[in-house]
Symmetry: C2
Subunit: 281 residues, 2 copies
Amino acid sequence: MKPDCLGVIGLSELGGSVAWQAARAGVERIIGFSRVRKDGVAAVRARAVTEMATSVKRVAEVADLLVLATPVSETVHTLRSLAATIATRSVYCTDLSGVKGPVVKAAVDLGLGERFAGSNVLVARGDGGFSAARPDRFTGQIVYVSPAASDGHAALEVADFWQRVLGLQPVTIDAERHDRILGWTSHFPQAVAAALAKTLASRGPKGITYGPTALAILDSVVSDTEAWADALLHNRQQLTEALEGFGLELRSLESALRRGDRQAVRSWLEAGSNWRKRAVE
Amino acid sequence: MKPDCLGVIGLSELGGSVAWQAARAGVERIIGFSRVRKDGVAAVRARAVTEMATSVKRVAEVADLLVLATPVSETVHTLRSLAATIATRSVYCTDLSGVKGPVVKAAVDLGLGERFAGSNVLVARGDGGFSAARPDRFTGQIVYVSPAASDGHAALEVADFWQRVLGLQPVTIDAERHDRILGWTSHFPQAVAAALAKTLASRGPKGITYGPTALAILDSVVSDTEAWADALLHNRQQLTEALEGFGLELRSLESALRRGDRQAVRSWLEAGSNWRKRAVE
């Protein structure tokens, strides 16, 4: 679908980019809402939105496609508060939070299954407000779309919007499988990068220069900690399973180091290195 | 010093780059040795060396500056086999392995303290042989130089070579402090990145697309596993100390996740994120 009126709730990096890119793609009316005044002002200035609403309800009253671009918990909360409004209107709704299970479940529980599909765009996220938004942020990127109803009609409309209006590549995937995959590929690596930073912060020597590997990992760490805390908590089952495996691998390295077992250390390093060469990209 | 004859033992990524960049800087005679035939052939073709030696002894017999560009264990072994030759000639010697303690100790034990200083260039290392070498690889990069003798004369000559001939920025640092710092800033992050790859390789779901954070970390993993195994083993005391702290931080995250303690998860993420913003670069 190409909406006549797109509503975007949350105008930080992701929501701001959706609005801005939709504006460039010719969506005529884009109504935004942000709890962060600065983001709203910047979005109006950039002409990423055509108007700002003073409440989320107002957005849901006029949009024919509604994008919730907030952390998981806030998204579920907003869905609840808008359920009655959405139910009485012909509006499709999606979100951009990093965990799909709880959001899709909330939509179904609220009777919005026919109107809702969850989305997750695979782009790196900074710690940014609207200042990190870009009008070409999504072009060519992959977006996961998770249907809430078995007929998947809303998912088709939402996927069509992402593809036709914003130039994304939609991949339909059920919410449970999405969360399992993202737990391994996104939340787990993010937790590992954050643990590295936390360890260096709390326990490392001060005033020293970091090597290229540390810098590459730590680059990922400066990001929206509220959204990440929310995603890690909502996907904690998958995440703790991955972290348990990670702990076992670390202990296996530590044991090989203690034994001074060169062959074991090397095999351990090679398993990851070979897999990286083979399996990624 | 600007050597009349530079000897380089090991012509993979680092040694190859040293030879090549020295050739471009006008060092007239560069004699190389490599156990890897392909690297020797490529170095001659690129004119990174003016001649190849058939033994390490031959290199030590003619060079007035000798660079050992091999993993730690091999470097110590080579120093031992060349000690008698080096002692009878006016030659300075350095190495490029990632751990300085064992190499400097070997030089001192062999009576080469006045001729030797260890070096470590802070550049990202791939898994490359000479094909990954570049004639401008080191320009502007930091190189740590660790003296073996208290007068530091050899360290001054070696630092002068790095700075004046290869355009590096030398920082003099004693071997013990070097290894402590590198344990935290290089070996520890590398072990964490490798553990992430190893976990995904052994335990992750198959056939899936990886997120930007995972890719950024995993980029560091494809590297010379022999040299890394050697460095991790030789610096295992520092490394296991860092890994123990890392394990504690991970368990603190897991505990907060299990309790569903949003504030604790967020504070944990913020400690690393704030430190990253503040302390790095």
